[in-house]
Amino acid sequence: MTIISEIVANYNQWITIFLMVSGLYIVVARGNMVKKLVGLSLFQTSVYLLYTSPGKILGGTPPILDPDFTVYSNPLPHVLILTAIVVGVATLALGLALVVRINEEYGTIEEDEIFPEKDGE
């Protein structure tokens, strides 16, 4: 019984960790740069979940003030994550621009194909 309640209580966090770790795995294991960027954004979105889930109060409403409600979820994580999302897409665009330039320079976006070329110099 306690195990089940433990699982339910921590389910959010565990899924967050799973997403985070799979993002990490993609970034480390895969050589394709677009795939790496997808992994990076997976990691990033898992952080959104990490921040917003402690901000939730059970039975609370979104933090838009109204006389009818008294319990609001915490607005501070929302603000931080809002900033993080937009910064995230900006950095993603920068990364993609780098990928395009690399593709023009080397004709490939696979790490394995770029580095041997350098070694053979």
């Binding site: 621009a97 023009e104 004709g107």
Partner: protein, 139 residues
């Protein structure tokens, strides 16, 4: 092509509503979810949709690339300018309470201006990035 026709007409029908929605999100941010970021992204998405369906030159006729690039620094200037004006009027940097004699109204005005600054930068950046990616041939 038939599919093309459906896409074009649907897009034409949707575009004004997308723009309306962007402005609704922008100016209704005080009372509902939304704000400069979201509105900027939605407005940029409208231009991008137009560009995808009708081609890049058509989109660039609506929003010239020069304008989009001009919007990128303009938003930052608006934002920092509001902060600087607040400082000139005797408050701290970005303290909007001093903008008007009534501090609450000053805050409202300050928030509105700042959100406009964010809108301008975000939408300008997204459109400019889309133009640069789309304007490049296959490598």
């Amino acid at each position: 092509m038939k599919l093309d026709l459906i896409l074009r007409i649907t897009a034409k029908l949707m575009l004004p509503f997308m723009l309306m929605f962007a402005f609704y999100v922008q100016f209704h941010a005080d009372y509902g979810p939304g704000g400069g970021f979201q509105a900027g992204i939605i407005a940029a998405a409208m231009v991008i949709l137009y560009g995808i369906i009708f081609g890049l030159p058509a989109a660039q006729k609506v929003v010239p690339a020069r304008l989009a690039e001009f919007m990128v620094p303009l938003g930052v200037v608006i934002f920092a300018g509001v902060g600087a004006i607040a400082m000139l009027m005797g408050g701290e940097f970005l303290n909007y309470s001093v903008l008007l004699s009534d501090s609450v109204r000053g805050q409202l005005i300050g928030i509105l201006l700042v959100e406009i600054g964010v809108l301008v930068t975000v939408s300008g950046t997204m459109i400019a990035i889309f133009y640069t990616f789309a304007g490049r041939g296959r490598g």
